[in-house]
């Protein structure tokens, strides 16, 4: 929105920054000379975990004094105040901050650099900050094992790493990434994914326009290589720094920068194997034909009618071989694959400039035949000293991705769907009368199903995309207390997709005016974002007692996106695969345009008293081009509405209090609390305005009103309260963090049903409210610390969601044959369908139940072998008639896709040069609608079925829970019911990797490390689908429905890293 750009407010802020800077410069205080006469002497020893003394450790009181340990690990230092803190630093060791707490004698244990310490400094929105001192609920990972996880994208890497962050991988498609949920959901229709900030600049993780390849979703995070990342911090609570973009938490990603001037070159090469997913147990040709005979009998065919069908004719006949094969179609469409990647990282520089450069190439085969992905990437990070006070940081990254994909939607062009339902007695290839197999692929079969191999081998589905993400930050240091910095960056992203479904072997589609024999598609999406973040920072310390840091600044982003797609049909031959070759009259074109701006004005203050009490406050004022002009609840500046979002946090370091300072068990005990208002401005670019859309009516093209503009449409407000406790005991060998939170969403977006006279059905309003409460626990422990070093980590997260307000009492939504209910007083998005109680095994039982299905005016009774649906409600008429009719009124909540808890267990066992890393992830209590199994147990058509149907009901008294096979399923035995709601709980050996550091040194090669990694090696679950982990939709609706996405697979990798 250009209006924002022109607004004087933004300019005013920038100007004010400069003005205040000037004022402070003039008045700036001179550093006082240090007077050490009143200082306290403190001494002690520094040791490693195995009690070996550490020499040469730097001990300092920041800004005052400094000392080193001797060979016995002993040090002696003068400190200005009993509340001062000592900072210990040593090469290869984790920095440690120890509050003196009045002690004169300190014994300190230090750990190696990748130890997860409570004392480390982590990246927060305004730079590095000690974890010890923050009152916000944050999680942090230093990516200790990124090098052996080279197959991951940043989002999948985060799985199990941080309490409160649930990363659910979208599918097994390489690079498809994960949907990230921080503490559950905050919105029904708005954004539920956290904001991602890479090196201080917002990283757009949305996809604009829909993929023309069914079921595919584009993953922008795939452009970032995990080995380029230094650390990731997650802001989980109501920290309002990022205002209306921070509704679902913020992920701060820091990419690696050179820290030393010496040149360091790392090269790594990997190669591995992707195992084909394990097939579902389906009927083989023998059992399938028995099933088919049953279905055909129920269709009314006689013995001779069935015998005359070519696939039932076992006598010598020309078609014999064509219908008497044994094909495992899942084997036909899945593949074993390989993965490879190469990576080179160079760091170094001089006292003027430091640089980090990385380049890499990655390739991996997908689980579906003929699918793969390739990625080339490059990143350059530089730090420049442009003057004594002016520095600049440059972050540039460019990467290119190319993927071969196949339809993964709920379509008959999805090879997986076809592979499951295709008759196993058919062949993928043409077969002569004499039984000779041709290399040519078979045509559409007798049942009207496509050949899955025609899709995998002959169809086209390519996705090529590029992203440039670069920024430059200038920082002017007026003094050691004051600096001004500004970041300017751009994102440029382009996606090109091409799709082609051939005529041969594929069932034609029916479009409005024609039969589409072959289909082609083309899609282009572009995104351009300009981003600026300018702020003035001030910090001052007053004698180890008071420390204050304050900032004021503004962020501005302006984005534009464009998506254009076209579909072509019926090109002359399957060799003409582009849209332009299709028949002109049938061509379909479309697209979308978007432009939006966001302005975020923020101030922040962090105050620290006695290194014991920490306070933090934020105030953020956000404007967005998306807000309706009449939106209320915030302030108005120059006629436009702005959201006002305050937040506060406090932390109390109890372990520094006198009553705890005297004991030695507790190293750290901290209580935290934070409260803040954040908002969600992802309400649609133009939802607040009136707009028109094109419509085709009987060949006439025109414009029609698309919506009712709602000028009162505003941001969703989420009030987040967090209370936490951090504890470290036994010299930090056991560390624990507990958080309890409550998120309350108000003004929640809701598509409200409006009268038909308006011409549109629904209108977006701020009518809803919901709350999410939860608990998180993270425990890390060093179990042994001698020859064997063994670390165990455990984290677990709980959340409970409840709708507190909706304009309508209950909202029913559908996704992939599943129905969800969202109702006040219950969790959002619950599976809503029919309850079953087995099947009627006898005619007497069916008669006793007296249940019917109503079709028009006729009632059809449930008979023996039909599913026993639980009847909950009858209409008064039916009650009078004394019949129980199974209809929509009998639906109940039958499942909850939200997990009871999720989490992970990690372990690292190191011995000598060996290290074994294990990560297990788990999810418990989430229900899944196994749509694939529902399809494979319908028992009403020619589709192949799962082995369970061999247990189908056939005779009175047969004890089974599988109903009879009936052509067309007239009683609706296959309707959406709890028959296919399954427990999606799982425990997975997510990653296991063995690392060995080769024991040689060379002039050329400084070090060499070997990796052996396996992903998804073992999964324990009762879930019957391919895999219990998938996420087709990023939003709330659609969770927990297992459509035909490519399943997760086991992959292994061997790699070597060379330090040059």
């Amino acid at each position: 929105m250009y209006k924002l750009m022109k607004q004087p407010l933004y300019l005013t802020i920038v100007f004010m920054c400069w003005l205040s800077l000037y004022t402070i410069m003039v008045q700036r205080a001179h550093a006082q000379a240090i007077d050490t006469t009143h200082f306290i002497q403190v001494e002690g020893t520094v040791k490693k975990g195995d009690q070996q003394p550490l020499s040469g450790i730097n001990v300092q009181v920041l800004g005052y004094t400094s000392a080193f340990t001797n060979e016995a690990g002993h040090f002696r230092i003068k400190v200005p105040h009993a509340a001062s803190e000592l900072i210990f630093n040593g090469a290869g060791l984790q920095q440690k901050i120890v509050p003196i707490n009045g002690h004169r004698q300190l014994d300190v244990i230090m750990y190696e650099v990748d130890f997860k310490s409570t004392y480390q400094e982590i990246a927060l929105p305004y730079g590095k900050y000690p974890l010890l001192k923050t009152g916000w609920a944050v999680g942090n990972t230093q990516l200790q094992n990124a090098w052996q996880s080279s197959g991951e994208t940043p989002d999948t890497y985060l799985q199990g790493q941080l309490a409160g962050l649930s990363a659910v991988r979208r599918s097994g498609t390489p690079n498809s990434g994960a949907n990230l949920y921080v503490r559950g959901f905050t919105s029904l229709y708005g954004q539920n994914q956290p904001l991602i900030v890479v090196d201080g600049m917002i990283y757009d993780n949305e996809s604009y326009g829909k993929s023309i390849i069914g079921g595919h979703s584009f993953n922008p995070l795939a452009h970032i290589d995990v080995r380029d990342i230094d650390e990731i911090t997650l802001l989980k609570d109501g920290n309002t720094t990022y205002g209306s973009r921070a509704a679902n938490g913020v992920l701060l990603i820091q990419t690696t920068r050179a820290k030393e001037e010496a040149t360091a070159i790392d090269f790594a090469a990997y190669g591995g194997f992707n195992a084909q997913p394990q097939s579902l147990p389906l009927l083989n040709a023998h059992d399938y034909r028995i099933y088919l005979a049953d279905v055909l009998q129920s269709k009314g065919l006689t013995m001779s009618g069935i015998d005359s069908l070519p696939y039932m004719n076992d006598g010598p006949n020309p078609d014999y071989y064509r219908f008497h094969q044994q094909t495992d179609w899942q084997e036909e469409v899945f593949q074993n694959g390989i993965n490879q990647n190469y990576y080179l990282k160079v760091r170094g520089g001089d006292n003027i400039a430091l640089y980090g450069l990385s380049v890499g190439y990655t390739t991996s085969d997908g689980p579906t035949r003929n699918t793969d992905f390739n990625r080339y990437f490059m990143r350059f990070n530089g730090d420049l000293k442009l003057g004594t006070k002016l520095t600049a940081a440059v972050n540039l990254s460019f990467s290119s991705l190319a993927q071969n994909l196949r339809d993964q939607g709920n379509n008959r062009t999805n090879p997986l769907v076809l592979a499951q339902i295709k008759a196993p007695f058919l062949s993928a290839h043409e077969i002569t009368d004499a039984g000779l197999v041709s290399p040519n692929l078979a045509e559409v079969d007798i049942f009207g199903l496509s050949n899955p191999r025609a899709i995998t081998d002959q169809a086209i589905g390519t996705n090529r995309n590029y992203r440039f993400f670069g920024s430059t930050t200038f920082r002017y240091q007026f003094s050691d207390k004051l600096h001004l910095q500004t970041l300017v960056g751009v994102t440029y992203d382009k996606i090109r997709e091409a799709m082609f479904i051939p005529q041969k072997g594929v069932v034609p589609d029916t479009i409005y005016t024609a039969v589409a024999k072959n289909r082609s598609g083309s899609n282009v999406s572009r995104l351009f974002t300009l981003y600026n973040d300018t702020r003035l920072s001030f910090q001052q310390q007053w004698g180890s007692v008071h420390t204050l840091a304050a900032r004021i600044g503004a962020r501005y982003s302006h984005s534009s996106s464009e998506n254009d797609y076209g579909y072509g049909f019926n090109s002359a031959t399957d060799d003409l695969v582009t849209v332009g070759n299709g028949v002109g009259e049938l061509r379909q074109l479309g697209g979308s345009l978007g432009k939006w701006s966001w302005l975020n004005i923020y101030t922040n203050a962090d105050y620290d008293y006695l290194n014991r009490y920490f306070f933090s406050a934020n105030l953020t004022i956000d404007g967005s081009s998306r807000f309706g002009q009449q939106a209320d609840g915030g302030i108005r500046i120059n006629g436009s509405p702005y959201a006002v979002m305050p937040s506060v946090a406090a932390a109390w370091l109890l372990s520094s209090e006198e009553f705890l300072a005297s004991q030695h068990t507790i190293d750290l005990l901290k209580l935290r609390a934070s409260y803040g208002w954040v908002a969600n401005e992802q309400i649609g670019n133009y939802s607040a305005r009136k707009y028109y859309t094109t419509q085709n009516l009987l060949g006439m093209q025109g414009l029609v009103r698309a919506n009712i503009g709602n000028p009162y449409l505003k941001w969703e407000t989420i009030k987040k309260l967090n209370v936490g406790l951090d504890l470290a005991v036994f010299n930090e060998r056991l560390r624990m963090t507990v958080d309890a939170f409550s998120n309350r969403t108000n003004d929640m977006l809701y598509w409200q049903y409006i009268p038909a006279a308006t011409g549109v059905e629904y209108m977006l309003t701020n009518g809803g409210a919901m709350q999410t409460k939860g608990l998180e626990l993270a425990v890390d422990a060093r179990m042994t610390d001698r020859q064997w070093k063994w670390d165990i980590g455990f984290n677990i997260s709980f959340y409970r969601n409840k709708i507190t307000k909706l304009p309508a009492n209950a909202l029913l939504t559908n996704y992939g044959h599943a129905t969800y209910m969202t109702q006040v007083g219950q969790a959002a998005n619950l599976f809503y369908g029919y309850q079953t109680n087995g099947v009627f095994t006898t005619a007497a039982a069916a008669a006793e139940a007296n249940q019917y299905v109503r079709t028009g005016a006729t009632l059809s009774p449930f008979t023996a072998g039909d599913v026993y649906f639980v009847n909950h409600a009858d209409s008064p008429e039916d009650q009078t008639a004394g019949v129980h009719v199974i209809d929509e009124q009998d639906r109940q909540v039958i499942g909850n896709p939200n997990p009871d808890f999720t989490g992970a267990i990690s372990s690292r066992l190191a011995w000598n040069r060996w290290a074994l890393d294990v990560l297990c992830t788990f999810s418990y209590g989430n229900d899944i609608y196994n749509a694939q199994r529902a399809y494979l147990e319908t028992q009403g058509d020619y589709n192949n079925q799962s082995i369970t149907v061999m247990n189908r009901w056939r005779a009175d008294g047969q004890a089974t829970h599988i109903p009879k096979a009936t052509w067309g399923d007239p009683m609706g035995n296959a309707r959406f019911s709890d028959r296919w709601i399954e427990d999606g709980s799982y425990l997975r050996l997510r990653t296991i990797s063995l690392t060995y550091q080769l024991p040689f040194t060379d002039k050329l090669i400084k070090n060499a490390t070997l990796f052996a990694t396996a992903n998804n090696l073992l999964t324990f679950t009762r879930y019957k689908g391919y895999d219990p982990e998938f996420s087709a939709m990023s939003g709330l609706f659609g969770q927990g429905v297992d459509n035909w996405l490519e399943p997760q697979f086991i992959s292994t990798q061997l790699g070597i890293r060379l330090g040059l």
């Binding site: 034909r289 028995i290 049953d294 013995m303 069935i306 056939r954 005779a955």
Partner: protein, 502 residues
């Protein structure tokens, strides 16, 4: 000290975590395992396995293997088997069992396609076996043999066990062919064998100008009784076939002879005999409890009744019943039916004039069509019909409905309607020749209400008698008024009815 204590404490915890993991490991088995087949049912076995594992069915098993029916029962189609026990098979003569052709039919009679559960048969059903013959099957019995064990469900069908063997019966046609006492009726039926065009055996070799198929015309020996009356060899259907003993056959023949007088005595006899036998098949199985009820023959719906007193012999075939009777209680009026000549379907119109076929509704709501030929300007206009008639005398009726299309109000000053007299003639010259036999002009098929209004007469009018010498087709004419005045020479006819004088 402290550290070691912690090690122990933490160690114990880690141990418990490991134990927990192992517990989860052991608790998690393949989720599909629970879906595998329940062990108490035989659903993981096929029919052959189920039969073979029953020691009481060992003879049956051996016989199935002997004729290679074991492959069939292992195949992935569904079957129903009624398996006779060893004791039952012991009663079958070894001689018969040694005959492989018979054995195949015999065993095939115990195997039916598809799955037929006894418990689901609330009424007797006929189920086709792979021998081609049908068995009667209900909840207790198959072919009147009690099932000792029922509904043993296996993967590819169901097994019933019977303590007596099922012996395949002959069908009616086989029985007729084998019937030793060949009376006149049997001899006549056997005389009907002859070479006939067999479409199933022929191959289409082209298409003629009218788009109809041309075949290479294979002729095979067939019996026209099977083609034209009922296929008594069809195992899927059920029939009742009556055999008249010679006395009854002669009595029927003599009763019908006058209707089928033809040019030669042989031809007359042939026609008479055909007309006797064509109505001796009844659809469905007539059991003795249906005696004395009115039955209808399959060919031309002649009504007849069977009586216990007339029964000479009876036989139950695989596809119905055969009764030998000494007397046939039939209704001649349903055999020699009145002949209806539809007015709107003439075979010829004089001078090739076009006619109007009207579709009308009578006062009872019945839709009928009739002929209207008017304004043709021809003196003595006629239309010709060419019906098939029996020899003998007929009462001739017509139905002529003068209504809306005609002028039903008298012409100005006239006291009566304009009439258009018509007549019915037969022979060669329809118009005026005195030698043409026929019925004279008739004036008055309109009802005069007596108040100056008229209404159409929907009744049949007896217009005279017609005698036919020979069985066959004759020309019958409807002849118009000898006038060229339009309105006075109109032809109008719904139908002519020729009612035989029995």
């Amino acid at each position: 000290m402290m550290i070691s204590y912690i090690n122990k404490a933490v160690g114990a915890k880690s141990l418990s975590i490991i134990l927990l993991l192992l517990l989860m490991l052991s608790a998690c088995k393949d989720a599909w395992k629970s879906e595998e087949l329940a062990t108490e049912t035989a659903l993981d076995r096929n029919l052959m396995q189920q039969i073979a594992q029953n020691p009481d069915l060992s003879r049956f098993t051996a016989l199935l293997r002997q004729v290679h029916y074991d492959a069939l029962l292992e195949a992935s189609k569904t079957y129903t088997v009624w398996a006779p026990t060893n004791d039952a098979l012991a009663h079958v003569s070894q001689e018969l069992l040694a005959d492989t052709a018979w054995l195949k039919v015999f065993l095939g009679f115990h195997i039916a396609g598809q799955r037929h559960m006894a418990q689901q048969q609330e009424q007797i059903v006929r189920v086709q076996t792979i021998s081609g013959k049908m068995v009667h099957f209900d909840q207790q019995y198959v072919e009147q043999v009690a099932m000792t064990e029922k509904d043993q469900l296996v993967a590819n069908g169901v097994l019933h066990i019977i303590s007596e063997v099922l012996l395949p019966k002959e069908n009616i046609w086989q029985w007729i062919t084998h019937f030793q006492e060949k009376g006149q009726q049997q001899q006549y039926i056997e005389s009907l064998w002859g070479p006939q065009f067999d479409r199933n055996a022929s191959t289409q070799i082209g298409v003629n100008e009218e788009g109809l198929p041309i075949y290479d015309s294979v002729f095979t020996l067939q019996n026209s009784y099977l083609n034209q009356v009922a296929d008594l060899s069809d195992e899927k259907k059920e029939f009742t076939y009556l055999i008249l003993d010679d006395a009854a056959f002669e009595q029927e023949t003599s009763q019908l002879a006058k209707f089928f007088v033809d040019t030669t005595a042989e031809l007359s006899a042939y026609r008479t005999h055909w007309n006797v036998v064509k109505d001796l098949v009844i659809a469905g199985k007539v059991t003795p409890d249906m005696f004395d009820q009115t039955l209808y023959s399959i060919k031309d719906s002649m009504t007849l009744r069977l009586h216990q007193a007339d029964m000479v012999q009876q036989f139950e075939a695989s596809n119905g019943m055969v009764y030998v009777v000494s007397k046939l209680d039939d209704d001649i009026h349903t055999k020699i039916k009145p002949i209806i000549v539809e007015g709107e379907s003439p075979v010829e119109v004089r001078d090739g004039k076009s006619i109007t076929r009207r579709t009308r509704v009578d006062p009872n709501g019945v839709v009928f069509r009739d002929l209207l030929l008017q304004n043709h300007g021809v003196n003595g206009m006629w239309v010709r019909y060419f019906p098939q008639v029996y020899s003998g005398t007929y009462n001739v009726y017509w139905r002529v409905i003068r209504d809306a299309d005609l002028i039903l109000t008298p012409a100005a000053g006239a006291a009566d309607l304009v009439h258009f007299p018509m007549k019915v003639t037969w022979g060669d010259d329809p118009l005026t020749s005195p030698s043409t036999p026929g019925l004279g002009y008739i004036q008055e098929p309109v009802i005069n209400q007596g108040d100056g209004t008229f209404s159409p007469n929907y009744e049949e009018q007896l217009i005279g008698q017609l005698t036919v010498d020979l069985y066959g087709r004759i020309s019958i004419y409807l002849v118009g008024n000898t006038s060229t005045t339009n309105g006075q020479n109109t032809l109008l006819l719904d139908y002519l009815k020729l009612e035989p004088v029995y």
